[in-house]
Subunit: 223 residues, 2 copies
DNA sequence: GTCTATAGCTAGATAGAC
DNA sequence: GTCTATCTAGCTATAGAC
């Protein structure tokens, strides 16, 4: 059995690449907002501060985004789109590999993505649950749910590989749900301790992502 | 070589148990505040809301704590004290074991503590960095630094066991710093996915903590 | 020890100039 | 498209009653 059931195999989805293309002005706002949200949190970041960071004033921000929540949702969306694009890319390159190898590829792509776009992922990690508790307009709640589904979908992809690997024996026999949680927790946990170094190249990040995933897959103890 | 250099071996420290004993009124406030901070975030939690959760009004809260930040710091402190007490306890029970076994014991204690006091640890996890960015009075900044040191100290304890284990061969040869980060990330990451079930016993949590640590130490792949 | 009332401030959002 | 000015809501913290 393969993971044909999971949407990622239908990639490249044209709308992902399209949605990732933003007018430069908006991208600057999102980058600045993600950084500010990460450092100070959603609530204590003012629109004035976001505007300051791009050397403008409120007006320029509100011309592009309806509200502060709208900016947050755009950050959330972009983070998920970046992850989705990268995941689809990784899967294409190993379509015929074993399930354990595909699990590794997806995990490395995920880990690398968290490091490469870490402001976005830190914001998602620390902000989504709290935004969900807010009083939201219907349209915003719908949009939030759609983004949550993208996240859930990515998790179920990893879960699918682990299930598959357990069936074919390439992954150890242990509670699959807990193994999924622990693996994802270890990857997402990168956002807790990783801080990008200036001058770090994409290759260096990939190496580090590979080592972290290697550790999670094979453990700390001698084999 | 042992970890005599690390303060935990000097336990039980009497002041930890003493600081954990709080007047019931204050404990109720901290529990309510930790829950509110976790669900809604520090900034969008009002003092009124904390008061509501204990069936009182602002006055009762401000009688016990100077400011909202003071409440946050008390939550941070209590979370760290609970971890410290539990860690010292675990270490006492395996003082003569191998370094790998002590690493396991400390890790399980940590994992269990995150589940058993998860509101406190979620608040610490998601709030400390952002509080550090605030404009703080000198006294508050000093207190925050002291609590940060408690956290750093716990991390260096785990790092010490990994270093030791690599020297005596009970832990695999890989970048020690990254292994420490990944292990701690995996444990702290529990706060991301774990939600307590009503009726879950302490023993069940301990089992789960043991399985998660087992996974992190031995990996997902067959051995 | 807990309450209510209120002072004082901050920040999201909008209107209208340029 | 971006600016400044402003309206308005909600919140921290305090004062003073009971």
């Amino acid at each position: 059995m393969t993971v044909q059931a999971t949407p990622y195999v239908a990639y490249p989805r044209p709308d992902v690449a399209e949605k990732l293309r933003l007018p430069p002005g908006r991208l600057r706002i999102l980058d600045a907002a993600a950084e500010a949200f990460m450092e100070r949190g959603y609530d204590s970041t003012s629109i004035d501060e976001i505007a300051d960071r791009i050397g403008a004033t409120k007006g320029a921000v509100y011309y592009n985004y309806r509200s502060k929540l709208d900016i947050f949702l755009a950050v959330y969306e972009r983070g998920m789109l970046l992850l989705e694009e990268r995941t689809a890319d990784a899967l294409q390159k190993c379509a015929d590999a074993t399930s354990a190898e595909r699990l590794r590829a997806v995990s490395v792509a995920h880990a690398d993505n968290i490091m490469s776009n870490y402001t976005y992922h830190v914001v998602i990690q620390s902000g989504v649950e709290q935004r969900r508790q807010m009083a939201l307009k219907d349209a915003d709640r719908t949009r939030l749910s759609e983004l949550d589904q993208m996240r859930t979908h990515h998790e179920s992809l990893i879960q699918a590989f682990i299930d598959e690997g357990q069936r074919d024996g390439s992954i150890r026999d242990m509670p699959a749900r807990l193994a999924t949680r622990t693996l994802i927790g270890g990857i997402v946990g990168i956002a807790i301790w990783y801080r990008p170094r200036t001058g770090q190249t994409q290759d260096e990040r990939l190496d580090m992502a590979g080592e972290v995933v290697e550790l999670l897959l094979t453990g700390l103890l001698p084999r």
